[in-house]
């Protein structure tokens, strides 16, 4: 089943303007696991009848990975090219499922001429709920879930509550890990680690974190970042295959609403 989505170019050719741009991100576009998250979020947007569009082939890497890896040149090249495209379409509001792109678009494009009102999808869905554009019912009341704070959403930008509120609204029992919120423990993917072998040590970071998640005895790990999702899924595969799964909050919402 194809999913219904407009590109900015298509809308412009019809002389239409979307209310918000959905920034899919490189992982959301190409990584098989992340693509499912992208589709789930689009289902929610369509369900709430949001007038949105994506850039499609005109989107390019935000430059987050290049910047954290120290390649400021490449980051600014990407940023300036993306800003030209975004400003060309007069984009004002952006929502993204990736905390890294969220941080980059919101905080790091500003001084380069890209000033947008940027939302992370958990923040945005919670806003839709508060504006009564989407209903959330506690359908998942028989499962216990632990929530992993992505660094760039939580510590990086202070968003701790929206994801948790959403989980509560769909009825799940929240089993917090000892290291959560401001003291959340990284999944191991940030700072361009996702794309390289870790340095020599005695444990992989994702194994350390997954061990902690397993200790909560929750049946699922919820997160809101596709990198975290990959790292923790890998951890579960190594430590407790089949006993736990890792899901994005928007996937849990799709599950709760049976979309």
């Amino acid at each position: 089943m194809n999913i219904e989505v407009n590109t900015m170019a298509e809308m412009k050719s019809r002389n239409e303007t979307p209310d918000i741009l959905f920034w899919v991100g490189s992982a959301g576009s190409f990584d098989d696991r992340a693509k499912k998250i992208t589709r789930s979020f689009v289902k929610i947007l369509n369900h709430a009848k949001i007038n949105f569009a994506v850039l499609g082939v005109e989107e390019s890497a935000s430059g987050d990975v290049a910047k954290r890896a120290g390649n400021e040149f490449l980051f600014q090249m990407q940023a300036l090219m993306n800003i030209e495209v975004l400003n060309g379409y007069e984009v004002k509001k952006i929502v993204t499922t990736c905390p890294h792109d969220y941080n980059t678009l919101k905080n790091e494009y500003k001084s380069l001429g890209g000033i947008y009102d940027v939302y992370h999808h958990t923040e945005y869905i919670y806003k839709l709920y508060n504006e009564k554009k989407i209903e959330l019912t506690p359908n998942l009341n028989n499962i216990s879930i632990t929530y992993h704070d992505p660094c760039y959403l939580g510590r990086g930008n202070g968003i701790f509550d929206a994801p948790r509120e959403l989980l509560k609204l769909i009825g799940v029992k929240l089993a917090e890990m000892k290291r959560s919120r401001k003291t959340s423990f990284c999944c191991g993917a940030g700072g361009a680690q996702m794309f390289k072998e870790p340095e020599k040590g005695n444990q992989d970071i994702n194994i350390n974190r997954t061990t902690e998640a397993i200790k909560t005895k929750a049946s699922k790990i919820a997160t809101s970042c596709s990198f975290c999702n990959t790292m923790l899924s890998d951890g579960v595969k190594n430590l407790a295959e089949g006993t736990m799964d890792v899901m994005d909050i928007c996937e849990l919402i799709v599950l709760s609403k049976n979309l």
Binding site: R39, V42, V57, E59, A61, A69, L80, C186
Partner: protein, 443 residues
Amino acid sequence: MFSINSILFITIFSLSCILFYRNIKKIIRNINLGKKIGDVKNKPKRWKQVFLIAFGQKKMFKKPLVAFLHLFVYVGFVIINIEVIEIILDGIFNTHRILFSDKWAFLYRTMINIFEIFALLVLFSVVVFLVRRNIIKVSRFLSSEMKGWPTLDGNLILIFEIFLMSAFLMMNACDLVLQESNLSYKYPKTGNFIVSSLLTPFLSHNLSTNTIFVLERFFWWFHIIGILGFLNYLVISKHLHIIFAFPNTYYSNLNPKGQFSNMSSVTNEVKMMLDPNNDPFAQNQDQGPPERFGVKDVNDLSKVQILGAYSCTECGRCTSECPANQTGKKLSPRKIMMDIRDRAEEVGKNIDKKGKDFDDNKSLLNDYISPEELWACTSCNACVEACPLNIDPLSVIIDMRRYLVMEQSAAPAELNNVFTNIENNGAPWQFSASDRLNWKYDE
């Protein structure tokens, strides 16, 4: 009024102050080796940070037990320094308890009693700290960068405090005994002090009045010389945080932690590259040598980053929260800050001995901090969050990666592939940019 005692005191006091001034000036010179920071904006918010985080120790209270003990030592230190004012005045004018007058005896006694209670609390806290470091062996005090001087430094500070507080209490105890002795005409009747009065029976039963007289003077001099010595010890110690915590929180980052700085020197070059009307041969006639990208040595750091290094008291909260460190990687954010201070001291000494332009062929990168440490960072900001003084080791790590990547093309091979993919395909993976919307087709 002045006597040989006054002259001796004034000499010791002024020499200590001059020595401290000279050394702190060198430290400020070392901080100024760093690059200028832009306009400091948002001053009210910065003062609020100083008030909450430095004065109020807000971030210490994530560990409440230690926070209270630390608060006792801190408040005790500040309050007991009021007593030092009297000691200095007495020293200069060769008087005894110059602030005391019969009319205000109650007030004076209350003041000294408060000092004494805090002295006791400080003693208690410091003993607990020594136990934590040496008997319980809290793991964050034992990392490899703590071997040798840093561990000794930590213990010396605590032992210093024990001596100072004991001298203060013993001085008062002797004073109380002397107030009741045949020398009482020299000692104003202050009334009992609550803590030191517990020590007086021991003194008066075992020692002669003359001995106690000598002891009182000994503890008085020991206390003030100890304080002056401690002041001068600060400049070589991690304890310097009692001064630099304040400017450091003032200058610390106010932006969201996830936001990294955009290098303006790069923006200019990138804009030139992207501008089709740009003539590559027309510019750069008289702009001087191009700026180095990123950080190789202390003078590439910002002043705030070096200030952070001098503010660090090596508590290790950063390292104990660092995911790389906790999984056995070489990276320790605390070591990064300690290395910066050591290197800044080294460069400073070179300037003192061999002049401003001396090059020792060493640098912060490689001689102190290895690329392996830098590449282990996940940029998760746990260290920045953990620091009770808002020191930012992450910004240093990223700035050093910038040097490795942009000046030396020395990124790990996998990351070079990622850079190529982003350049060619607009994604870190090797997928065609034209497939970017394919997610909507498959389920």
